[in-house]
Amino acid sequence: MTKLHIDPMTRIEGHLKIEVDIEGGKVVDAKSMGTLFRGFEIILKDRDPRDASQLVQRICGVCPTAHGTASVRCLDNAFGVKPPTNGRIIRNLIYGSDYLMSHILHFYHLAALDYVKGPDTAPFIPRYEGDYRLDPKINKIAVEQYIKALDIKQKTHQMVALFGGRAPIVYGMVVGGATEVPTVDKMISMKWRLQEIKDFIDNTYLPTVYLVAGAYRDLFSVGVGCKNLVSFGVFPLDDDEKSFLLKSGSYTKGKDLPLDQAQVKEYVKYSFYDDKTTGLHPSKGATISDHNKKGAYSYVKAPRYRDLPHEGGPLSRMWVTNPVLSKHANKFLGIDEKKEIRFRDLGGKAFSILGRIAARAEECKLVADAMDKWIMELKPGTPSCVKVEVPKEAEGFGLTEAPRGALGHWISIKNQKIENYQVVAATIWNASPKDDMGNLGPIEQALIGTPVKDIKNPFNVARVVRAFDP
């Protein structure tokens, strides 16, 4: 048996260390270790509750609007307010634009270099060698797209800033709605920027994903994972939140179940937190560090749904929502373009490295197409926000879906100050360590069985991890 440490795991957000045991050319055990502690939940205590939606955005600079969205929804819930139609749509547009940014950045700038050989210059060297399978001509096109996608990424952030004020980290979402009253000028500015992004997704991003996938077909059966999926739902389509573009629900032990947030618990037996805080629902959760705890191996807690590990992210949302896929998918699967195929038609292929990457690209198109309609539903010149007052005592929660998985915030307010604030962040579902019952986290499970041909150039281990977009 050989032990392999990947530390640092690069091209992700944050600090992650992966340790795998390899035997007979395959991973037989895996540990996913979060190696950074900042203690945001502790910092939030005793502050003005409205400050939360700003502070939490700094948890993740790649998906600040995800934390912003969860936080304003959590505050709406605790304050007992409902944003007006403009507020709901502006939040969707800010967040939707950041989704496009995050998914495009993930494929081209975080994941692609596991499949595409970059030019022989920094930051593309040093690199591992031996498993780049693209035809040199296609490889060259992919490198050109890497550059083009940088420009597209920058433009998606212009879209975020139109109503967000700036990006990354926005000012435009607040409890009660959004800060700006929409103008026709802004709506058009967003619409024409979106056309260029949509064109890129339809004619460059999606076809390239399937083109790359064609050269690595075996990776549709690598990285299966726990096969339990959870989605909290995102992008409300009406003010009463009767429906969402990407639906909530779970797929647990092969069964489709409606979402019940009471079923979320966080375990800490293998995390550097006090054992007496294990197994709590986040509304009663606590963050008490124990840096030298024996047996612990991660600063990430282990959130579980219905006491089981659940994967979050595009694969989960697409599986739960099961929308019609793009025509590029038909072409790739060799199915007549006139026939509608849905995500679940991928079957077992969905639970894999490339299943996750394809889910992300297909979802990107779904969000971009929906945004095009939302822009025209804004009512220029009418308010985006309702008046709010900080309650003396209240409790609340806000659920959403970060680009990389289910995200929930829970608050309790006392004397108009934050008494407790708990964040169950998207990546901690996927990158979590073992729970108290001994179940490995979703990334750990996905790593087991992964073939490692050359231990000196461990491509597949990195591919499995990055496909989750941690």
């Binding site: 640092p8 030019p119 591992y128 940088l150 920058q154 990354p168 560090s289 840096h291």
Partner: protein, 306 residues
Amino acid sequence: MSISRREFLKYCAGAGVALGTSGILLPEIVGALEKAAAGNPPVAWIQGGGCTGCSVSLLNTVHPNIADVLLKIISLKYHPTVMAAWGEKAADSLYDMAEKNKGKFFLAVEGTVVTGADGKCCTPGKFKGKEVTFIKLMVDMGSQAAAVLALGQCGSYGGIPAAKPNPSESMGVSEFFKLYKIKTPVINIPGCPPHPDWIVGTIAHVLMFGVPELDSHGRPKLFYGTNVHDNCPYRSYYEEKKFAKFFGDEGCRVELGCKGPESNADCWKRGWNNKVNWCIHNSLCLGCTEPGFPDSFSPMYVKTTG
């Protein structure tokens, strides 16, 4: 072609603004930088207790675009979010680069310097076969660099992780260097996140002319030398005592909690994201370029200044 420092400062301060773009570096400067790039000392970018927001902001640079910055201007030898390699191959390349370019390379530090639990709260990797704390990485790299660019509110002053009660015992680079008696010059580029022009412009200045003139908080004067409130396009409302009472209302934002009066940066003319918007037009300034953010500027949505 070459360009004088005086011309460079002029361009940074205003030329792009006059052209109606937020680009600070005109083609002539980019040309000069590219020419110099072959011989330019390498830049290594490391991350402590950060959120990657500074890197994501840097990627938004428009003139020059980020592809030119990465491929033609800066010889970026280490950056955990963009580099191809991972694990041992990535980690060892940082120490090899430092060894080869001792005293010559520039170190960009994103995120706060986490010192809690003897550094255990932040271990950014296994370098040369040993798990290294961010404290050790900062001592090893910081003492060998020609200068350090302390990025964002975190790198500059500790940032949000260092806010009360500072559970991870975090601090900015300058404070850390004082504690560890490291003499390497530090340039702060605060902001949460900093504007990409502030990052690219400062790197360009350092590469072409050395360390730029800094204010008493260690920030380049060319970007942080003006007061937001004094220059704000909404200033006349303040003089007329017309104050916005809710988001979306016309008027000066001071009563909504705007911290413009205490903030020094050129957002008021530079704008954000290719100048499509900026904080005060959208809602208010939270003071993210100032030492003491966020604690000294809390509560955020309550009038505390002006």
